[in-house]
């Protein structure tokens, strides 16, 4: 501020006071805002559009043929900085020679939504969705198990795929739609070997 304005003349001050000039200015601002679109939302009646890259609740995904993508490799657990993932794996009884997760837990109360697990996953079995409404009175509900995670993944499959595209983890083209990461055999386009 200049020194001039600071040293308002006494006359000016008296005039401002008598003419309620400050109130007039305030009213002007208020009136102006009555005619512009509000920036807040009337949540939960109104919801904001969420960008594809948004980091929401985690879900587990399936391939389009319904098989579980996850191979139980536990890299997500290793990558997680808040140690909220637990994977228990075993040999897949339906597809011998391949692993799968028999149990899978994410303690979403601990999750810091860094997305490292999604990045670590070699088969893009994990993705973040736009789901964020899972508050509950029962904290145990916030330890998502394998069933819940696949439900989330199923319900939000489109969002999940968009998340992966947005983070450059999967391409929206035919090559990656073949999901060449079905471990271990699809690596070379092989059919799973028969148990000898």
């Amino acid at each position: 501020m200049t020194e001039k304005t600071e040293e308002k003349s006494l006359l000016r001050e008296v005039w401002d006071a008598l003419s309620f000039s400050e109130i007039r200015t305030a009213m002007r601002v208020a009136l102006k805002h009555m005619f512009v679109k509000p920036v807040t939302f009337q949540y939960p009646r109104e919801k904001r559009t969420i960008p594809d890259a948004h980091r929401g609740a985690l879900g587990l995904l399936r391939y389009d043929d319904g098989t579980e993508r996850c191979v139980g490799c536990d890299l997500c657990e290793a990558a997680c900085p808040s140690r909220c993932i637990k994977v228990v794996s075993a040999e897949n009884p339906e597809r011998p020679l391949s692993r799968y997760a028999t149990e899978f837990y994410i303690d979403i109360t601990k999750c810091v939504f860094c997305g490292y697990c999604v990045e670590a996953c070699p088969v893009n079995a994990l993705a973040m969705t736009k789901m964020y409404e899972y508050s509950t009175a029962d904290k145990r509900q916030l330890i998502f198990d394998k069933k819940r995670l696949y439900e989330i993944g199923e319900k939000h499959i489109e969002d999940a795929k968009r998340y992966l595209y947005a983070h450059n983890q999967e391409k929206n083209d035919t090559e990656s739609l073949q999901y060449r990461y079905k471990f271990p055999h699809q690596v070379a386009g092989l059919t799973p070997p028969q148990d000898s």
Partner: protein, 900 residues
Amino acid sequence: MALKPVTSPDTEAPTIQLTIDGQPVQTKAGVSLYDVISETGKIIPAMCYHYTFDPFGSCGMCLVMVEGKKAPVRSCTAKAEGGMQVRTEGDDLFQARKKAVEKHLTIHPLDCPVCDADGHCELQDMAFQHGVTNLVNAKPKGLPEDRRSLVLDFNMNRCILCGECINICKDVQMVDALQFFKKEGTTHVVAKGDEGLVCEFCGDCLAVCPVGAITNKYSKYIYKPWQLKKTTSTCAYCADGCQMSIETSGKAVQRVTSPLSWKNKWGDRAETAKGHGGLCVRGRFGFQYIDSKERLGMPLVRTEEGFVPRSWFEVMDAVVGQMKAIKTQHGPNAIAGLITARCTNEELYLFQKLMRAAIGTSQVDSSARYGHLNFTRALQHAAGVGRMMNGYEEITKANVLLLIGTDITETNPVASLRVKEAIRVYGAQVIVATSRLTNIAKLASHPLPIAAGSERWLIQALVKAAVEEDLVDEAATTATPEAFAALKAAVAGLSWEALTARTGVSREAAVEAVRLYAEAPKAVILCAEGVTRQIEGYASVLNLVDLAWVTGKLTRPGCGVNALPEEANEQGAVDMGVASELLPGQALYADEDARTKFATAWRCSLPPPDPSATLMEILKRCREGRIKALYLVGENPLATLPASTGVQEALEKVQLLICQDPFLTETGRLAHVVLPATTFAEKDGTFTNLEGKVNRVRPALEPYEEARPDWEIFAALGTALGYPMEYEAAQDVQREIMKLLPGYYNLGEPRPVTARPEGYLRDGYVREVAARYAANTDRTETDQAVRPFALTIGQVLYHSGKLSARASGLLQLYPSKGRLQMNPEDLAQLQLGPQDVVRVTSTRGSVELRTGPNHDLARGTCFFPDHFNEPPVKDLAECVVDPTTGVPAFKFTHVAIEKL
């Protein structure tokens, strides 16, 4: 120093000088250049190298530049030469190594996420270190997995053909079960003959495989290395005392790994004489009993409706009440206790203290009574040494090894590797006297076939041969001429005809064997169950001492007499004084001063030595009603001893039978109270191995449900009985032992022992020796006609006692087959097919069972594993108790076999 000459590491080679990265280095000529480099502290990548065997040179990673050569050379197979100028670093070498990694990766499946080696894989590490990010024309092999073997799966897609598995199996194990094999243009590692692998399943190949090409069926796909908590501990099966890592997640044991691994590839070849860090099949694959569903989770009390679970509080209250009542009514000698030698030293110590100080009985015994005490007592008596005289290193470096009555590759597999190393690396001559064509007999330079069960006469024959052929050491025999004269007179009474008839060994063969033994500068005798668990075991050990003494091998460094204990801590049980005649430190219980010393330390008065009793006497007193309460810790006499000993009657007769065990055993079913104990994997403490080395046992898991470590139960019982035993941890007990037995905790280092036979030879020897060589007969001619087959009940590689029969992994490898093993020719002669049932009859009764062929058995002999009692073949054997040590011998008998 990592010397690796092809021949003996003891061989002297000229010293040479060369420069490595500008630094002058001195070494021996002919040593692998790689070893010379790693000695300077430089680590260059190497994927096919392991210090335990000769360099193979297939991976192409260990490249170095040698002045004067245009291309990089493989340092592992290159020999160090004088004046060499070697460069180990530089961009050219980095690029060359990177090329080698890329070459491996182009035919690699890259299925790390599902690979069990993921995170513990040398190829991965190398790819990362060399920044391999892009592969052109990658073409994995696309092979099916070889799942024909019982424990190991071979995934040849991931194999980098480093040959480590083949080399360790051939050089260290001397099993030679694996080979490279070309099939349809690709080289595979397969079992010899391209069949399902049938080998000793030590798993050392699995441990050294640097990639995920060999996988463990029992742990496959259920872990990633970073999920597992690793606890270093000591194996609880046999007395070899192998160090192992128990890897757990949560409450489950996922796998067991060994210090031997591709990761520990740098070492000194000469150091393997002390052990190579591997495990045997039991240690590596027999862990399933630890977290088995059959474990006891609660104390059980027998009521009219059978066993009911009760809280510790209630049960301890009842037990203490009853014990006190029995003690007041019948005196402390109405209480006796037996403990297994699979408990830790601290527990063994505490147990005898509980029995002696808190209860006031001297009737305590351990499973060392089944044989090892024959050895320790004899050696203590004759030479003042209470354990094996030679450690692993001395066994490895002996010139001659004399093995009598030991199937060492089966009972003590890792100790047997020392004998194998002696043969292979140090060129030792090995005499194996055995009735079976055991694995070690197949490798021996001098196999000495003997009649089954004739070890004791063979020993007499060897002593007689040494004396008669004057293969005696002047210095040793002239020092005590009376003793030598007495021995001479004693062996003169033996006739060669009788000895040869019994042993099947001619005089010439005995002389040849003893000559070899006597003339060697370093000669070691190893015996085991065939001597210590047989009739006259104590006398036989003394006769072996005679053999060593007259040939001058008793006091000479690098020589000695040894008996291999069977269970993990048999040596510890003896050292902790868990025998009615011993106190901790193997002091004699009858010795007034020793008793006073411990009584003062324990602030109690110790019971007089008189009504003390050993195992068989305790059972007898139970039968007679003199013992009212029997406390069994991990012992299962009902399943161990033959029925003719009246063991069942004894156990049923006692008023209070307490069984403390991780499992509900046959004996446990007769008990009034069953207390759930933990396995070694939930305990803190120490085991003493056969070398006398004290090894740490660390808890890998929390105790299973309500089970408690044995020492905690002893301490609680003692305190409740009014004798304060307040220990917070096993270390408190350890500290107490340290005070009483200074120097016992030599963690990791075997203590050398010196034999002092002089006293014994001067005094007492003359009185005893005649009886030891008395011509004893135990089998008449008619006997032989009626019961022509010699039956041995013994151990097999895949099992240890009854405990391993709870490990599902080992049962898969060796289930209870219920078949009597016989020589195939005998089977043919008796026209026995696999479905035929035979009746096997001994003086003690008969059992009916099927038979199976075993090519290693001599004609006229048969074998049954002592780990299984279906059918109860053990009951056929007679039980003969040693008059001096009270050791029961019940593993050998003669039977008639008839087809039904």
